[in-house]
């Protein structure tokens, strides 16, 4: 295993009674990765994440974090991880500040009152610090969850569906926050999400799991570029464009748009070809690339 490998999961298995929730799941996450963890509902994502955090004891397989076995170095490893699992739950009868104080005390690091204040400021909850969590909206709890995750300055951040239930503004805020953590603090992030566009935008590597198996793993760009891409060209003469592009598979056409399957590196040459043939190209739009790749992978 490389020195820069932060998470190494090998042949992980977990059974609940007769139900095999995960079967031989394997993947690795490198230092500095924003790692997309994808799969449909019930695929085994949450079970795998809970195994990584020692909330669930796997029946078989190996988990190493920071080059150490989780089973024998649990405390040391968990002190370097910050996480939100599914949804952040807090003590509703306590204030935001008190909640952070409680989790800070068992985080394995010394966190000062000033740092807690700073973190509340960072997630935009400074003015609600003394308010009880029971009055918080889902978005506010999510932000408090992120504050709790970052409080002890972890090296690895595990976010399981961090944007679930958030409004568009909240989703953008969380996405920007993840990008800041990646770019400014060089954190390693494992991000499980149903928002495929989000993963496509911020993850550099990913794994797709389905029915408890890991199916594909690799660099997001490599995986997606290896696939043909459906691209929509908005043109002034779609019929003429279709004739010019007869070598390609046309998926849809109307008077002003034509959708064709091609490789990413062919987009510019096709654009040039159309323009040289006096077909005006008003817009070029790749269509939901990861979504198609995800569905195709799951169906296969």
């Amino acid at each position: 295993m490389s020195e820069t490998t932060v998470i190494q999961v090998k042949d992980l298995n977990k059974k609940f009674g007769d139900f095999e929730a995960i079967k031989n799941v394997s993947f690795h996450v490198n230092e500095g990765d924003v790692f997309g963890f994808l799969g449909p509902n019930g695929a085994g994502k949450s079970t795998t994440i809970r195994c990584l955090l020692s909330l669930i004891q796997p029946n078989r397989g190996e988990i190493q974090l920071f080059g150490k076995h989780l089973h024998t170095n649990r405390k040391e490893i968990l002190s370097r991880i910050g996480c939100i699992i599914e949804k952040p739950d807090f003590y509703k009868y306590l204030s935001a500040q008190k909640n952070l104080e409680i989790f800070a005390r068992i985080s394995g690091a010394e966190v000062s009152a000033k740092e807690i204040e700073g973190m509340l400021e960072f997630v935009g909850l400074a003015d609600r610090a003394k308010h009880k969590v029971k009055g918080f909206s889902h978005g506010m709890k999510q932000r408090l969850g992120i504050a709790q995750t970052l409080l002890h300055k972890p090296d690895l951040i595990i976010l399981d569906e961090p944007t679930t239930g958030l409004d568009p503004q909240g989703i953008i805020e969380v996405r920007n926050l993840i990008l800041r953590l990646k770019n400014e603090q060089h954190k390693t992030i494992l991000l499980s999400s149903h928002q495929l566009s989000e993963i496509e935008m911020i993850a550099n590597r990913m794994v797709i799991i389905n029915k408890g198996h890991s199916i594909v793993e690799g660099s997001v760009s490599d995986l997606l570029n290896a696939e043909e891409l459906l691209v929509k060209f908005e043109v002034n003469d779609a019929d003429k464009a279709k004739t010019l592009l007869s070598a390609y598979t046309v998926k849809a056409i109307n008077t002003t748009t034509i959708e064709i399957l091609l490789n990413r590196n062919e987009i510019s040459s096709i654009n040039k070809k159309l323009v040289e043939a006096n077909v005006l190209v008003n817009a070029i739009e790749p269509k939901r690339k990861l979504e198609d790749f995800f569905i195709k992978t799951i169906q296969n």
């Binding site: 909330l55 004891q57 405390k75 699992i85 306590l94 409680i102 068992i106 985080s107």
Partner: protein
């Protein structure tokens, strides 16, 4: 980490309104008993003393702080377990119901430390409830009714304990009562490890106490072999301190049984919680 999390647990207990329910309920019940004894104490006590008046003459302050404290203890020690279970039965299951258990268990604190810190916090709460009961029963009663010899009617008959010979009995009696309540606390924490809602362990604790108490009071020989080992049999051991001759051996035996139960419940909680997959 154990101390830090015990501090966390105490903050949680102090911040929950239900934690004060026990103190409020005790205060109210004792206030009602004190009011009743002040208003009609002589007729209540005469129901006991009348049967002895042909052979004995009662002089002095019969309805005094010591007698009232004893009556309060007799009446309330049965109900205090419910007030204890209300808080301790929620310590683990409440976290599972809220979802905070997964936040907690994913921190660098061992599950053993989580259980131990909850047990210590639960024990401190139980101690505070016992002390509050003691304070109200002894000191407030003495303040209102004054002091005097304690007249106790038990299975040996009427026992009159001189005023100077009473305080240490109350002190040790409260220590054993605390141990009984700590057993209830350990039982409810154990049941709490099996549940993911708050009500279940509280109801289950009271049901177990009720069933065991009924078995203990049944005059059926089939239960005679298990009665000495049931913790409920020993929960009233504090009363033995108010016998003319204190049966220390029997009290030691009760203490051993209660302590064994506490450690057994704690051990089973640790085993269960350490093995548990946290899926909530």
């Amino acid at each position: 980490m154990l101390l830090k999390n015990t501090y966390n647990e105490l903050i949680k207990i102090v911040s929950k309104p239900r934690s004060f329910l026990g103190f409020g309920a005790l205060s109210l019940l004792i206030a009602i008993i004190l009011f009743a004894m002040k208003a009609d104490g002589s007729s209540i006590v005469s129901m006991v003393t009348d049967s002895f008046e042909q052979t004995l003459t009662f002089n002095g302050n019969v309805i005094n702080g010591n007698l009232i404290a004893f009556i309060i203890l007799q009446m309330l020690i049965v109900h205090v377990p419910l007030l204890i279970a209300l808080v301790t039965g929620d310590l683990i299951s409440g976290e599972a119901a809220m979802g905070t258990i997964r936040m907690m268990a994913s921190k660098p604190i061992s599950r053993t430390q989580i259980v131990l810190s909850k047990f210590i916090a639960g024990a401190l709460y139980t101690l505070l409830i016992t002390l509050w009961l003691g304070f109200l029963a002894l000191f407030v009663s003495h303040f209102i009714f004054g002091s005097g010899d304690l007249i106790v009617l038990n299975s040996d008959g009427l026992v009159i304990l001189p005023e100077a010979d009473v305080f240490w009995r109350f002190g040790l009696g409260f220590c054993v009562a605390f141990l009984s309540l700590l057993t209830v606390s350990a039982l409810s924490i154990f049941l709490s490890a099996y549940s993911e809602n708050s009500i279940g362990p509280i109801v289950a604790t009271m049901s177990i106490i009720l069933v065991f108490t009924i078995i203990g009071s049944l005059d059926a020989s089939v239960f005679n072999s298990i009665k000495p080992y049931m913790f409920t049999t020993h929960m009233a051991a504090w009363r033995s301190f108010f016998s003319a001759e204190v049966p220390f051996n029997a009290i030691y035996q009760s203490i051993v049984i209660l302590v064994l139960h506490i450690f057994s419940f704690l051990g089973m909680t640790l085993y269960k919680f350490n093995k548990k997959d946290i899926t909530s």
